[in-house]
């Protein structure tokens, strides 16, 4: 039967609904934010266009996570890419936007090609594009085919998610869109790829062998580290955030990969737990990265630059924006008691629990993965100290930052909503875990009714009998109590004489912004430590007035984007070289052209019986 277009169009299960929640929870404040953001930035016609594109974008994403048919999924998947492409090239006169858009859409399209291949292999077995029909057919699919489908899906969705080394488009595309779109792209769009992996690999295909999970874990670890290291090197605040998205996708994938691994070794409880950790981090990242992009947009709107080396001192000029950014930065650096902390703790805990439950060398592997996650979170903290410190603290480094003003009300509303969510998702961890348990259980196909992840409504307890607890409300309580106590002591005892004076300047007359530590300098220890990967190089130029006196001195330092330099650039060059040499077959001579016809004819006649 040729049943391509099945009647069942929608599929609403907890997994879909969860992603729907993620989509709307970020899109709503972003939309509110855009009122203030777009005003004065674009002409009114263009603003109308953004609204149209924004709606189309959000709708297409909503369809992507709710349709129940591969072909329809593909259609909306591509519409989503297309609309987001239009948003990336929205500032169409910028050379950068065009290039970014090109890289983005080409990479996405290549990813989609892999997805098509995967879906069609599944189709061959199911004779239908319906999710459930395929799910049934996958049970009888040979293991070899399953492996191939898995790899195809991983590459296909990995491109969209930004798994290293397929992340190449992400740092170009995300920053180029208007900021509220960046926040949706980074916060939500790349998550649809995670949805795809969970939906198609875990839910539909079913985990075949344990190397799937291991492969995803390895990729996730690499993604985390590469993402955050590049993020540390970045000067453009939106690109910094984009690279950080790569890192966070890695963390989410750690949870997902772990779940896949646990499914394959038949540890259902842990599988659910790891998937919860992954999903929790997913929604957390959506929230705080959404917030950070909105804040970055506010900074851009207020100053007109995205280069953090030109910013500084904004905390005094934009107190609210900076407070929101600080909150976002704290959350992304996994500081207690905010939401990022909870999900990262859960992920680490999932690794530890895994170690207690598996045997053999895998334990060490899981342990090292966990250690790499810890390294990532340490680097993330450094990265966001740098991002916040250089952008908002100290003295203004240029006239851009000097003229900054606090942004409009609607933008503040958008940001404050997300800030609020950051705190809620940190404190209401138990409630959210319970909800996520349903989602994860549904995806894996387990009943989670008997599983309990909490002691009471304040204390998380990943595994009963292990005495492992986490209670963010309690932590917050302790921090506030002790903080208040400290504050009282600070304020009450004795006299307090506070003098405001210049920063200590070693006896120079006056420090100015040129004496400040720069972002590039801040990241230097990291640049040196990871030089095997970043391959930094520098260029110095001295202009001498005389032998003794140097008139000016310039110093540049760059890092090598090794994936671009050693994988993408050569590949593209090769394709173009091949195409260029092909051009020689058509030099304009009609005799040669006629010759082609005759030769074709002769060859066909000679090899006639081969066909």
């Amino acid at each position: 039967m040729m049943n391509i277009f099945h009647k069942q169009f929608f599929l609403f299960d907890p997994l879909s609904l969860f992603f729907l929640l993620v989509i709307f929870i970020i899109s709503l404040p972003s939309a509110v934010y855009s009122f203030g953001y777009l005003k004065g930035e674009y002409s009114s016609a263009k603003i109308t266009l953004t609204w149209f594109l924004l709606s189309a974008f959000v709708l297409s994403m909503a369809f992507v996570v709710t349709v129940g048919n591969c072909l329809v999924f593909l259609v909306f998947w591509e519409i989503m890419s297309l609309v987001s492409y239009f948003l990336v090239v929205f500032d169409s006169t910028h050379e950068k936007s065009i290039k970014a858009g090109m890289i983005y859409i080409v990479m996405t399209h290549i990813g989609t090609a892999f997805l098509i291949a995967a879906f069609l292999v599944m189709y061959k077995y199911a004779n239908s594009f319906d999710f459930f029909a395929i799910k049934n057919a996958c049970q009888v699919m040979p293991a070899q085919t399953k492996n191939i489908v898995f790899l195809l899906l991983l590459i296909g969705f990995g491109t969209k998610a930004g798994i290293v080394p397929l992340h190449i488009w992400l740092p170009y595309a995300h920053p180029q869109a208007p900021s509220h779109i960046s926040s949706i792209m980074s916060g939500v769009m790349i998550k649809t790829a995670i949805y795809g992996i969970i939906r198609f690999v875990i839910f539909i295909l079913g985990i075949n062998s344990s190397w799937w999970g291991v492969l995803v874990l390895i990729l996730a670890v690499i993604t985390c580290l590469v993402g955050i290291i590049y993020s540390l090197m970045e000067r453009d605040i939106k690109r910094l955030l984009a690279y950080s998205s790569v890192e966070n996708i890695g963390i989410v994938l750690l949870g997902v990969g772990l779940a896949m691994f646990f499914i394959s070794v038949n540890l259902p409880y842990l599988a659910v737990f790891s998937l919860i950790a992954g999903l929790y981090h997913l929604i957390n990242h959506a929230i705080f990265k959404g917030l950070l992009f909105l804040c970055a947009g506010s900074v851009y709107k207020a100053t007109g630059t995205r280069d953090i080396e030109k910013l500084g001192g904004l905390i005094k000029k934009m107190p609210q924006t900076s407070a929101y950014f600080l909150l976002g930065a704290m959350a992304i650096s996994a500081l207690p008691p905010l939401n990022g902390f909870v999900s990262e703790w859960l992920t680490l805990q999932a690794f530890f629990l895994g170690v207690f439950n598996v045997t053999g060398g895998t334990r060490l592997f899981l342990g090292i993965c966990a250690a790499m996650l810890a390294l990532t979170s340490g680097l993330a903290a450094a990265c966001f100290v740098r991002a916040f410190g250089i952008t908002f603290l100290g003295k203004p480094r240029s006239h851009y930052a000097e003229g900054a003003k606090e942004v409009a009300l609607s933008m503040k509303i958008g940001m404050s909503f997300l800030s609020f969510l950051i705190i809620i998702f940190g404190l209401a961890a138990v409630k959210i875990m319970k909800l996520l348990a349903k989602v994860a259980g549904g995806a894996i196909g387990l009943d989670t009714g008997a599983m309990s992840f909490s002691l009471n409504s304040f204390v998380l307890s990943p595994q009963a009998g292990k005495d492992i607890y986490l209670s963010t409300p309690l932590l917050l309580l302790m921090l506030t109590l002790l903080g208040t106590a400290g504050f009282c002591i600070y304020m009450l005892f004795g006299r307090k004489r506070v003098i405001t004076y210049r920063t200590w300047d070693c006896g120079y007359y006056k420090l100015d912004s040129r004496n400040e530590y720069t972002a590039t300098a801040f990241s230097k220890p990291f640049r040196i430590a990871f030089s095997f990967f970043l391959m930094p190089y520098r260029r110095t130029q001295k202009i001498r007035e005389s032998f003794y006196h140097v008139k000016s001195f310039t110093y540049e330092t760059h890092t090598t984007l090794i994936f671009k330099k050693y994988i993408y650039d050569p590949a593209i060059a090769l394709v173009f070289r091949l195409a260029g040499s092909m051009k020689r077959i058509q030099p304009g001579s009609i005799h040669l052209y006629l010759g082609y016809i005759f030769v074709t004819l002769l060859l066909l006649i000679i090899f006639m019986h081969r066909f």
Partner: protein
Amino acid sequence: MIKIMIAILQLVLFIAAAPILSGLISKIKNNIRLRKGQSILQPYYNLAKLFFKGEVVSETASWIFRVTPIVVLSSTLTAAALIPVFISSSPMHQAGDFLVLVFIFALGRFFMALSALDTGSFFGGMGSSREMFISSLVEPALCMVIFSISLQFGSTDISAFNGIYAVSVSSIVAAIALFLITIAETSRIPVDNQETHLELTMIHEAMVLEYSGRSLAFIEMASYIKQMIFFFLIAQIVFPIALPVFNSLIQLASWILWYLARIIIIAISVVLVEVSVAKMRLFRVADFLGFAFVLGIIAVICAMLGV
């Protein structure tokens, strides 16, 4: 209720005892260097002096700068409250486990690093950059240590510490790794040097350079407590000790003595390292902590093999 009382008592004791450890280290160090050295109680004097002195705040600084001492102190105290020192389980042990400790410290450090950038001083930026560099490298090593320990206990709960267990190869290796981490975290030679204000070498001192008066007192206090926590952890790993038994006064006395002596042993080893090693270049620190990480892995392998 009693639990909460004990918790408060524990915190008070921590606050009271932490500075003395620093004084002790300083004293031993000076003695080894054949100097007379300051009194063991000197840290108290310093704190008192700072506490009652006036403050100078940079005009560039924002509220981050003002709030940091309190955040740092409260986060360190929270960490201290999580550790069960005198009783089998901390009253706060439902708030978090061993891993949470790491994140709590990160909270304080995050604000510390920000406040260093806040004044616009180049030293601050330098210190903050280096501090974040070191701490980010510390984390994986610390993670491996926690990992190996919890493999032995079967849990990441800190309360599991307070019990007698056979000291294994794994815990010794883990303790060595933790020792190296402690050196890095408490700004000791060869990673950092608390005693100097030389621009090119200082890390922690560069961060707190702009602080004075009461704020500085808070920060100093926090770092004493942090040091105490780390020493306590190492001691608990290599020299595990059970709960006090109140059968006789002598028993209690010997328990207290041993309890303190093992911390002093750790302090002495720190001093020995400090006086016998030269300070490293910043970029060598990566190797140093990498070594700690490898030790952590070895500890994990040992734990897995059951030795």
